[in-house]
Symmetry: C2
Subunit: 246 residues, 2 copies
DNA sequence: GTTCTAAAATGATATAGCTTAGTTTATTAC
DNA sequence: GTAATAAACTAAGCTATATCATTTTAGAAC
């Protein structure tokens, strides 16, 4: 194997960033559902949010706990996982700065349907369901936006079902890497760099296979020059060829 | 095999029912998102809906077409399917009277992500996206309800991903039959009767397997007395034991 | 009732991907 | 720099499920 060994590529230092009121303001302002609000309204909404710092691996909430809040990533990244009866982990989603998760449906008593874990040191802003609900009631366009996002997520989720029901593991892994590239990738001289700690375990959990099989297929992709990987990074070197694998 | 042969069980006659203004009114009134509106408001909303009759197998809309309307089942039942590149069909959902489908997200230009087919003769009420949007803007609680339903569907969809990623075909088929029973089942003297034309093909499409494998597993369930089936019906005779198969 | 036909069941064989176990490598801590 | 260690990789047998081919059956039409 003639993989280029030394490609650490400026690894993100996992120092937790603080959430200043101003940085929070900026994040909130970029959230789709608050985009059309005035500065003053935003300021009031900001005050309703609290924030918490989490280190790598910290659990933000656990599947099955009573779901009381909507969370927004002010900095860092978060992975959502579900656990099977026999302990197998399914990675539902990987979220980055500005994305939200947790309890999005503000009516009635519900429970978290997945576990949220900080994938790097992260700062998470939170708002409780009632407060979120009252914001939505106050700003009807905001709830249309939320609807919009939910429907997008539903689509993605159904796309994944389609993948799982009808495609081979190779297809699914190619698709998953491409999706991650699309979402988290940064262009650099080698290609599209995905710079998160993404273990074979994670990939197996996202594609419904075992780490071994994931590993094998990724090795194959590496051999034919589609991607390059190290411990905490992946580069897609040939997007168009990888797309043909779907 | 000593299956009880003659169990036609009052098959639904597939004659299309008409949608009178009054019956529509009743259906609309039961929709979660309009539940709290006054009679007069409901009356106005009803006037915005149009309706169309479909026979068994008729296509209501096709995946990829521009999505312009929200549909509500006034009578009958509808199945939603997606097609894979190699022609394999994924059955996304089976909907019954009072449920809605189509374009739920009222912002911008979108395309239907699945094909909707009448599973029996059905009457479908439709409203276009702009009209739906304006109703949602007018009644903020309505959009919270829509949000509620979307989030429920998202959960179901994620549950299915979990199933597909980590469980055996047997698990998945047991789960699917139970879910269908929950949703469409009617108690009768034999057990919980699911009275829709549900082919092995459909079940395979819902569980990500082949019709042959689905058939084999269903035969096994029949042998051990968990279910009984005929061409257009299924009865769950032993729910608790079937649940153990998940 | 008898006949007809699409759906379902079954059988035989092939294979993708899982499992288990052991080896190698990249990154971190020293 | 070197050592320690968790992640990644590899190999080989095994099993669940797919595939292809054929028979049987339920329900509809006559």
């Amino acid at each position: 194997m003639k993989t280029l060994r030394k490609t650490p590529l400026k690894l993100t230092d996992t120092k937790a960033e603080s959430c200043t009121f101003d940085s929070r303001m900026e994040i909130l302002h970029d959230l789709p559902f608050f985009r059309n609000l005035s500065h003053e309204e935003m300021h009031n909404i900001n005050k309703v949010f609290s924030d918490t710092k989490y280190d790598l691996g910290d659990v933000i909430y656990r599947e099955g706990e009573k779901s009381t809040r909507l969370c927004v990533i002010a900095s860092g990244s978060v992975k959502l996982i579900k656990q099977n009866l026999d302990g197998k982990e399914i990675l539902t989603d990987i979220l980055k700065q500005g994305e939200f998760f947790g309890n999005m449906d503000p009516s009635g008593e519900t429970f978290y349907v997945e576990t949220a874990i900080a994938q790097v040191s992260s700062c998470i802003m939170k708002i409780n369901s009632e407060q979120f609900r009252s914001i939505l009631e106050k700003y009807p366009t905001a709830s249309l936006k939320v609807l919009d996002i939910m429907s997008k997520r539903l689509k993605e989720s159904q796309e994944r079902i389609k993948q799982l029901s009808a495609n081979s593991v190779e297809n699914r892994i190619a698709y998953t890497i491409l999706k991650l590239g699309e979402k988290l990738g940064v262009e650099n001289d080698l290609g599209l760099l995905i710079q998160i700690p993404l273990t074979r375990y994670d990939i197996a959990g996202m594609t419904g296979t075992t780490p071994e099989t994931a590993s094998r297929i990724i090795s194959k992709f590496k051999e034919v020059g589609l991607i390059k990987t190290g411990r905490k990074w992946t580069v897609i070197t040939n997007i168009s060829e990888l797309e043909k694998k779907i």
